[in-house]
Symmetry: C2
Subunit: 611 residues, 2 copies
């Protein structure tokens, strides 16, 4: 078990090896951009799927929707540029919303972000597998197991630790950029030498008409192109100094690259009237058209798969880090704040992997089905973050604050409008789930925090003074099922810690105690043996009654301790072959509430079986 773990995850690392690694521009772009850059893969696909139902009449809106989304991208990028400046130690939506809009807004942002990270992992993997299966259509039916396979791989890579998985990232990111920019350039040359094809010649027949709702719906789906743009603002401390300027520069480069890739691919698609088969993505169809099925086509698909897998990987940094911050603030179970063997937040990673895996299976590995859930969470986080920045400027009123507030205000307004469009147009497709999950998540956070507070109060010794009188020697009760080696060990142990020991036998069939009494005379160490008949064949009930009754008789302020002889079989499954009386007894005692201050100690004396 431990060997397998060490092989997969690596051997433990000591705490002092935890040190910060600072990234230069080239590596920072590779570290923070995969999610943002790769999102064009599914955003393009969603716009296409949203419009193609209206045939050529719908698809002609592609370019205009692309422009609207690029404008939104520019607004949001400018808005986050200011966040980076103001929150050099990391300005995730949770931090910005909590500081400026209050704890509740922070928790809403946190819930939205946890959902987003999970969806980023799930959507990136399903979209990556769709790119692969577009090139190799026989794989189309195995999208769920393939996506789960990649999920397991990146989970293991991340459980090994960030350092090793960090260096893996740069290659696919630049490979993706190179192959996509090549595709756009080759496509542009084809535009110069070739002729445009209108969608009217290539599009399948319309099954719906191109209504405003249909176009807004496609726009809402396409807004997933913006996911990941906030990543840099969360991670400013990871940049080489001067951190703020470097982070802002990388953000600008990233936003420009996103716009080029997005508008370039959507423009080519519309110019050449590209459409796709049912088991192919639109980007695959574009690449196939541009490269005429040459090996370059397979290169582009491989690059898409690779960057999407790396994008899924970014959730493995964000989700566990946010979970650990929430756990430190007592909003999540404390276990999420603990560094694992390999200096990573292993519990958060495993939760993320479990949730993303469930989404992949639950939605049949279909990106299109997951997208409606995705967009809502993203824009809730954007909106809260931008609105928080507006409040920040209003409070701070530093140099040039009205302009800065205006920039973030435009960002907030634009993302709010988009949020409403997305929520309404995608409500029935699945956005409702997220709109329910977020308040549930917030309630969950608050409940957990209130529990931790209560425990701290109950555990506190404040105001108490040490008791100068020692506790009296405990009374001990030993339940026996017969006379055997385990009972004998427990009896001797009990006699070594107290001179008030009683053995109790619950007699289920009348007369069964006779043989025990004989044996007790030999082995019983002069400890009294009490036999209690149990006509209803229950062992636990009569025993609890006996304990209560003697506690009342003694009335010495303490509860009798229980000593339990227990088998430990050599193999776990053998536990199933024994009556779990000791276990049932402990469970029954656990759930009987006690007056505060009194307790019943339980002493387990294990007997290890050899076979």
């Amino acid at each position: 078990m431990n060997h397998l773990r060490e092989l997969l995850v690596g051997s433990p690392l000591p705490t002092h090896q935890l040190s910060d690694e600072r990234l230069n521009g080239v590596r920072a772009l590779a570290a923070f951009s995969p999610d943002a850059l790769s999102s064009i893969a599914y955003a393009n696909q969603e716009i296409y799927l949203g419009l193609v139902v209206a045939g050529a009449a719908g698809l002609v809106y592609s370019w205009r929707i692309g422009l609207a989304i690029a404008l939104l991208l520019a607004i949001v990028a400018f808005s986050y540029r200011q966040t980076i400046h103001e929150y050099p130690s990391g300005g995730g939506s949770y931090v910005v919303a909590r500081e400026n809009l209050g704890a509740l807004a922070g928790l809403v942002a946190a819930a939205a972000l946890l959902i987003d990270y999970t969806l980023t992992a799930a959507v990136s993997l399903t979209a990556g597998v769709a790119a692969l299966a577009s090139a190799f259509p026989t794989l189309w039916d195995y999208r769920v197991p393939l996506a789960l396979g990649f999920l397991v791989l990146i989970t293991l890579a991340n459980l090994r630790g960030l350092r090793e998985s960090g260096t893996l990232m740069a290659v696919p990111v630049y490979f993706f950029l190179a192959s996509y920019l090549t595709m756009l350039i080759v496509g542009a040359i084809k535009m110069l030498v070739g002729d445009p094809r209108p969608f009217a010649e290539t599009a399948p027949p319309a099954v719906e008409s191109a209504t405003t709702f249909l176009i807004l719906h496609a726009f809402a789906s396409g807004c997933t192109a913006l996911t990941g743009i906030e990543a840099i603002s969360n991670g400013v401390p990871a940049f080489k100094p001067p951190q703020t300027q470097n982070a802002q520069r990388v953000l600008a480069v990233m936003a420009v690259l996103m716009a080029i890739l997005f508008l370039g691919s959507i423009g080519l698609t519309q110019y050449f009237g590209i459409t796709a088969r049912a088991d192919e993505t639109i980007l695959s169809a574009l690449a196939r058209y541009v490269f005429d099925d040459s090996p370059f086509y397979f290169l582009v698909q491989t690059a898409t798969l690779a960057i999407l897998v790396v994008a899924a990987n970014t959730s493995y940094a964000g989700f566990p880090r946010l979970a650990s911050i929430l756990a430190q603030d007592s909003y999540l179970p404390r276990q999420f704040s603990l560094l694992g063997d390999r200096l990573v937040f292993s519990n958060g990673m495993m939760l993320l992997a479990g949730l993303a895996g469930a989404l992949i299976v639950g939605f049949g590995g279909d990106t299109h089905a997951l997208i409606p859930l995705f967009a809502v969470g993203v824009f809730i986080a954007f909106t809260l973050s931008q609105a928080g920045m507006v409040v920040h400027w209003l409070r701070l009123r530093g140099r040039g604050w009205p302009l800065k507030a205006l920039v973030n205000g435009i960002g907030a307004a634009a993302t709010t409008v988009t949020l409403v469009v997305v929520s309404v147009s995608k409500f029935l497709d699945g956005a409702w789930m997220v709109l329910i999950l977020i308040p549930v998540g917030v309630w969950f956070f608050l409940t957990i925090r209130s529990h931790y507070r209560q425990v701290a109060i109950e555990l506190s010794l404040r105001g108490a003074v040490p008791d100068p009188t020692p506790m009296p020697m405990p009374r001990i009760v030993l339940p026996v099922s017969g006379m055997h080696r385990g009972v004998y060990h427990a009896l001797r142990y009990a006699c070594s810690i107290s001179n008030n020991v009683t053995a109790v036998y619950i007699e289920i069939s009348p007369g069964a105690a006779d043989r025990l009494r004989e044996q007790w005379a030999i082995w019983g160490q002069d400890v009294p043996l009490v036999v209690i008949p149990s006509p209803y064949r229950s062992v636990v009930g009569p025993l609890l009654e006996y304990l209560d009754q003697t506690d009342r008789q003694y009335a010495d302020g303490q509860l009798a301790s229980l000593i339990l002889p227990e088998f430990v079989p050599a193999h776990w499954w053998q536990n199933l072959l024994h009556n779990q009386t000791a276990w049932l007894l402990k469970l029954a005692l656990l759930y009987r509430r006690r007056r505060s201050g009194t307790f019943r100690a339980i002493i387990d004396v294990p007997l290890y079986l050899r076979k």
Copy 2:
């Protein structure tokens, strides 16, 4: 929780209420025949489904297959008549095979019987639901939930106790007999006044040809008509005296009724060339034809459903009883031999319900898919029982033994041939599962028995003598995570039972122990506090190492006891919010093997949280 249980299952009953209830002929027929009588419902259906693929050319074999099965029925009935005589205290296949053919044959029979009981429950319920859904086709898609619903109902009825469920049985059995005999009589009258229709006019076109294999396959499926015939031989003690004669008489009546119902219905089906829709059973089609969709038709379907549910119910007597016998012989976990609150073998019933439910779900509520598994087990049990009887006569050589051995020998030969036909023709349809499961079951029985034997040897005090020197006072180690109320209670308890107590703190972040040392000076009762640094952030590992090390230092032949302050949260889910260090520690200790005779006691001191 307890209230709900009491409402569903009833309040506990004392052991002395367990007494035998003796049945007269009429009630005995009702108690033992449902399985046997009702099996004509699925047997007819299976013969039909087996032949209809060959169209009219196949269906014309119905009557001849029916005659062959009726002959087999007569042979088996005569064979069991002798078993009843020789085993008046109950001659189930397990008992007869074990006594005459050896323990291994007994276990094979036991495995086959447990599988049969499970399949009886599953098949009867799915066939009953099919009868219902034939009358109300809208229910056809809900066969799985309906079958599970009936399963839950009969499980609850049986958990309440046999007495109450016994009286429920007579009504549906006689209702079924009355309605089916009426149908046969009305059908016979129609035969006299109406004309035969050959299958050639009504059968759907053939998709296969009527090969010998196809006909043997249909015969093999039809042999499930015999299931349940052995029930009386298991239950002779339940009859009013003279038990043997009464049991034999009821067996004869039952066999004659089975033959009449089976041959009558199959004869009418062939005479009138009845065929059925895909979502209807052949018996439903027959009843519809005979009664022309009048209310009588619905009465017949209701009676079919009712007797099939009662038939499923008979497994709730057989399975738990056999499981308890096997448990008493140490072949199954001891829990199966315990009488529950209501004087029934509740554990066996719940296992049966779980297995039958899994079969219903796993096979999509489809009787036809379950039948291949069913027939094999039944005929293995028949064959072993009959073969056991032959050996019985050869050994006993009482008056007229050659004739008696011949009767059982013919029975054994006939069932063996049928077993081979069934195994081969149904092998790929699912019989292979049973042929694998039976040896697995036997291996399982033998493994369990060898474990119990080993435990008895290890627990035995035979040959040992009481140790006259008392055990020395234990050394006690108290792991502390900080200074709080729970730790303080545990510390005081430890000091009350030993004067050798050490507190141990595992320091994960350097310097964290300083504050604890200050508090320990106030609250520590002069107990030494050992601080152990843990650079790899593990708590359990360093603690186990400390225990091993001090045990080696003392070398006093004992292992230090561990005292663990534990929270008991007010609600179970709150356990998820705490580091389960105590639990992990116990688990780690559990799986470290110890030298025989040494043990490490673990003392739990619970602190009950109020909220």
